[in-house]
């Protein structure tokens, strides 16, 4: 399953506005997409679930997608989060990025 690890650097963590844009972007894909903080994973297409993760500055979040458009979804979501996270190295594929 394609997976992407990213570190949130925005001083406000993942706050309401970027979280909403993230959910809107995730919902455009048919793949099942989840986002995890620590060992807790939630549906990336649900704003209430995403806000419940409590993503803080320095949190490392993991995005997982499963489905026909999984890789495209991770790429789009990484782009959506770009202003709030450390630059992502590597391509979303079947392996973890460093």
């Amino acid at each position: 399953m394609p997976e992407l690890r990213i570190t949130v650097i925005d001083p406000a963590g993942l706050h309401a506005r970027p979280a909403a844009k993230f959910v809107q972007a995730a919902s455009r894909f048919s793949s099942a997409i989840s986002i995890g903080n620590g060992d807790r994973f939630v549906d990336a297409k649900s704003l209430v679930a995403l806000l419940s993760l409590g993503v803080r500055p320095g949190s490392q979040v993991v995005l997982r997608a499963e489905g026909a458009d999984a890789s495209g979804a991770l790429l789009a979501l990484a782009t959506e989060l770009a202003p709030y996270v450390e630059p992502v190295s590597g391509q979303p594929g079947g392996r973890e990025t460093a």
């Binding site: 309401a16 506005r17 909403a20 959910v23 809107q24 919902s27 649900s46």
Partner: protein
């Protein structure tokens, strides 16, 4: 796309929440407000609520969120004034106003049906103010 109506005793509160909701969810969602009385005092007005519902209405329906107390009475009067067809596509949310409006607006922006938008708003009741704390 489902429209939203924010009912509050305070015009400032309703307008401020609309500003916040629009910034989070984006400009596509219709958000109408009914804040304060007809003559600008603190309170609620059936007439303003009715007008807000008509303004936010779409074939996909309207979700109404309210603050507290007599807002429910004014809303009841407003709903009685609507023709049955319009009334049938209005759902009243029990959700806390701020979180409920934000969650509902984002869900509506996804193009989801009224039941899903109402469900998203309802989830606000269980939200932690200090997630992860």
């Amino acid at each position: 796309m489902v429209g939203l109506v924010i009912v509050s005793h305070s015009r400032l509160l309703a307008d401020g929440l609309r500003e916040m909701v629009e910034q989070v969810a984006g400009p596509e969602v219709a958000v109408a407000t009914a804040g304060g009385t007809d003559d600008g005092r603190l309170g609620t007005s059936a007439l303003l609520i009715e007008a807000a519902i008509r303004s936010a209405d779409s074939p996909d329906g309207v979700l109404v969120l309210l603050d507290l107390g007599s807002a429910a009475l004014s809303l009841e009067l407003a709903l009685e004034a609507l023709e049955p067809q319009l009334r049938s596509r209005v759902t009243v949310s029990q959700a806390p106003l701020v979180e409920g409006a934000v969650l509902a607006a984002v869900q509506a922006s996804l193009g989801d049906p009224l039941a899903r938008v109402a469900e998203a708003a309802a989830a606000a009741a269980g939200m932690s103010k200090l997630p992860g704390a």
